[in-house]
């Protein structure tokens, strides 16, 4: 018995626990410590004092520091990854909940604030918790601009227009507002305030109420005085479904009068030596020099060339680096679509540069489960050992992910009558095999299936790296998986 076999047996003996509960840890840490409890009371008192002072100061000068919320400590790895991808990493606080909406502020380490509004999430499966982001509309703003006397409202409202509608509709009135703002009003098609919602805890929302012909929003103080106006009917005359002609007496508030922010000096030369990487795979050699990617397709087989060129003769070339967030690995990269040539040299937009973990080239073709193209991209060029592992694991993950989205799987996933594993394997073909238990693992190259009570389905595949990949479905809903980060489609 070698080390790998021993490791496998230990993992069989103790299948990895997958449900860490950090909230429970924090609760235990709090409940058994009187000193922490006392500290909490003191902090709460201090916060109340600060808020009281803040309210008193609210009408003079800037209105900063008014948004205090509950720290959000249970961000999923995917949420953390998404925030970092959009340069919004920081401390997340829940400001308020209204109707089905949750309002967040994200305090970036550079002091800039980002704001986000998302749906309140309830009764999610572990899979949904891991893959769905709580953040909906999100934006960052210079703290000198909002909250300020000139801009006391950060409006996240959205409009909808569907074919056949006579006019556009304010579909989601929502946003953040500074302390002096008591209500948010909507300017209707007759240029008067036709609807208003209260501001509570510095947030507002009209829930699902839609307002047709809305021209803009106004911020009102508790005496009904207009503090700020945002008129969206800015065309000269009514044009099609979108209102124009202004908002009558409600004139757009002027932008804040602020000195321009000091722009960071752009480096005239690269700050360090340009990193050069070389790699080859599937007959393609790749050289990456900083942000420039050069791919030579001279060595590809006629079949790969045919696949890459397809009907449109355009290929997609990209490189990625692997980012580990909260134990989950994600690919973050750049890619471009270009006409096919034997030597392709590109500098993708996005600013990412070497070192990358791998590059890929694909054609404009689609995939179906278990098709002749397989689950690897037409060209995969690993540039690091972990890039090579990623390609291997992604291929196995795609096999599972593409199956669950395939038409052939629908009748299995949503079966009204219980099916046997044998019957399912018969339908799917000899690429699949039945599993004795949900914790079993098929040999490499096979997709294992286990069926249990209440439409419980477990799909398992072992990657060539030895990693066991799985997806569990309960009552047709993705319940639990470790495919996150490896495949986009699920």
């Amino acid at each position: 018995m070698n080390e790998i076999q021993l490791r496998d047996r230990l993992f069989k003996l103790f299948p990895p626990e997958t449900d860490p509960d950090w909230d429970d840890v924090l609760l235990r840490a709090k409940t058994s410590s009187w000193s922490v409890r006392r500290l909490t009371v003191l902090v709460a008192a201090a916060v109340l004092a600060v808020l009281a002072v803040g309210s008193a100061l609210a009408l003079s000068g800037r209105l900063g520091g008014f948004l205090q919320g509950t720290p959000v400590n249970d961000l999923t790895p995917r949420e953390r990854f998404l925030l970092s991808e959009f340069d919004m990493s920081g401390k997340v606080e829940l400001i308020a909940k209204r109707n089905s909406k949750a309002f967040y502020v994200i305090r970036r380490s550079d002091g800039r604030l980002c704001y986000s509004i998302g749906e309140i999430r309830k009764n999610l499966t572990p899979f949904q918790r891991e893959t769905r982001s709580r953040f909906g509309g999100t934006g960052c703003v210079d703290a000198r601009i909002f909250p300020s006397r000139a801009v006391p409202v950060l409006d996240f409202s959205f409009y909808s227009y569907r074919r056949g509608d006579r006019e556009s509709r304010l579909a989601g009135l929502q946003g953040f507002a500074a302390d002096p703002v008591d209500r948010i009003g909507v300017i209707g098609r007759d240029k008067r305030i036709v609807f208003s919602v209260p501001v509570e805890d510095n947030v507002y929302t009209a829930g699902r109420k839609g307002i047709s012909g809305a021209r803009g929003v106004v911020a009102l103080d508790k005496d009904g005085k207009v503090l700020w106006v945002q008129c969206t009917a800015i065309g000269r005359s009514p044009a099609g479904p979108f209102p124009g002609g202004g908002c009558g007496k409600y004139k757009n508030s002027p932008p804040p009068d602020l000195p321009p922010m000091a722009q960071p000096k752009k480096p005239t030369k690269p700050s360090g030596p340009v990193i050069v990487q070389r790699g080859s795979g599937d007959g393609v050699s790749v050289v990456v020099r900083g942000a420039e990617i050069e791919a030579q397709f001279g060595g590809i087989t006629p079949e790969t060339r045919r696949l890459l060129k397809g009907k449109e003769s355009r290929i997609n070339l990209g490189c990625f680096k692997l980012v580990t967030v909260g134990g989950t690995r994600y690919g973050s990269g750049v890619n471009v679509t270009r006409p096919y040539t034997t030597i392709l040299r590109v500098r993708p937009y996005g600013g990412q540069a070497a070192p990358f973990d791998g590059c890929t080239a694909t054609g404009m073709y689609g995939h179906t489960w278990n098709d002749a193209h397989g689950t690897h991209d037409a060209v995969e060029v690993p540039l690091t050992p972990r890039g090579r592992l990623y390609f291997a694991e992604r291929a196995a993950a795609r096999d599972i992910a593409w199956l669950v989205r395939a038409r052939i799987f629908r009748s299995i996933r949503y079966a009204r009558e219980p099916l046997t594993t044998t019957e399912v394997v018969r339908r799917l073909g000899d690429h699949t095999m039945p599993l004795d238990t949900p914790g079993a693992t098929p040999p490499i190259g096979k997709l294992g299936i286990w069926l249990g009570d209440k439409n419980r389905i477990v799909l398992v595949e072992r990657a060539t790296t030895g990693r066991r990949l799985y997806l569990e479905i309960r009552r047709g809903i993705n319940y639990r998986t470790n495919l996150v980060g490896l495949t986009q489609v699920l």
Binding site: R7, F14, L26, R28, A29
Partner: protein, 164 residues
């Protein structure tokens, strides 16, 4: 909470989320029972969160956390043993319900190893830690880690060759 404290709490949370499965498995190798192992890990992290100001940074944070988990598991084992004694039943190593003879055989063999060997085995092969980190966690020399691992491996190999 100061910035450094917040940052430390983030690091602890990150370790917890990344290595939760490893912590539970290693704790189970001590306690001999999965549910209690999970409890031990939760208790350990609660204690770590409370006493994070005591972390002096002399050793890596991960080693400090691992030591706390192991200590919590040992504490849980003592309590578990007292309760088992009261019920006049012996604790057994119980991963998942052993649905195969091979699994329960391995569980018995692992449970029979001396605690240090068992710990080194799990820290090395389950948690994938290197010898130096294991030595820091257990407060022993790397040579001791190597010797313990060798002894554990040898015992299991000999026994498993007979049963598998």
């Amino acid at each position: 909470m100061s910035h450094s404290e917040e940052s430390l709490l983030d690091q602890i949370e990150s370790l917890y989320r990344d290595r939760f499965a490893d912590f539970v498995a290693v704790a189970a190798s001590i306690v001999g029972e999965r549910e209690s192992a999970r409890e031990a890990v939760q208790d350990a992290f609660a204690s770590i969160v409370r006493s994070r100001r005591d972390f002096r940074g002399e050793a890596p944070l991960e080693a400090w956390v691992w030591r706390a988990v192991i200590n919590a598991a040992r504490k849980k084992k003592r309590r578990y043993a007292r309760e088992a004694h009261a019920r006049a039943t012996a604790p057994v190593m119980n991963g998942t319900a052993p649905d195969r003879e091979e699994r329960s055989e391995l569980a018995t063999l692992v449970a029979a190893l001396p605690e240090r060997q068992r710990l080194v085995l799990f820290l090395r092969y389950y948690a994938d830690l290197d010898y130096l980190r294991i030595a820091q966690i257990l407060g022993v020399r790397t040579g001791t880690v190597s010797a313990s691992l060798h002894a554990a491996h040898k015992t299991l190999r000999q026994a498993l060759n007979e049963v598998v």
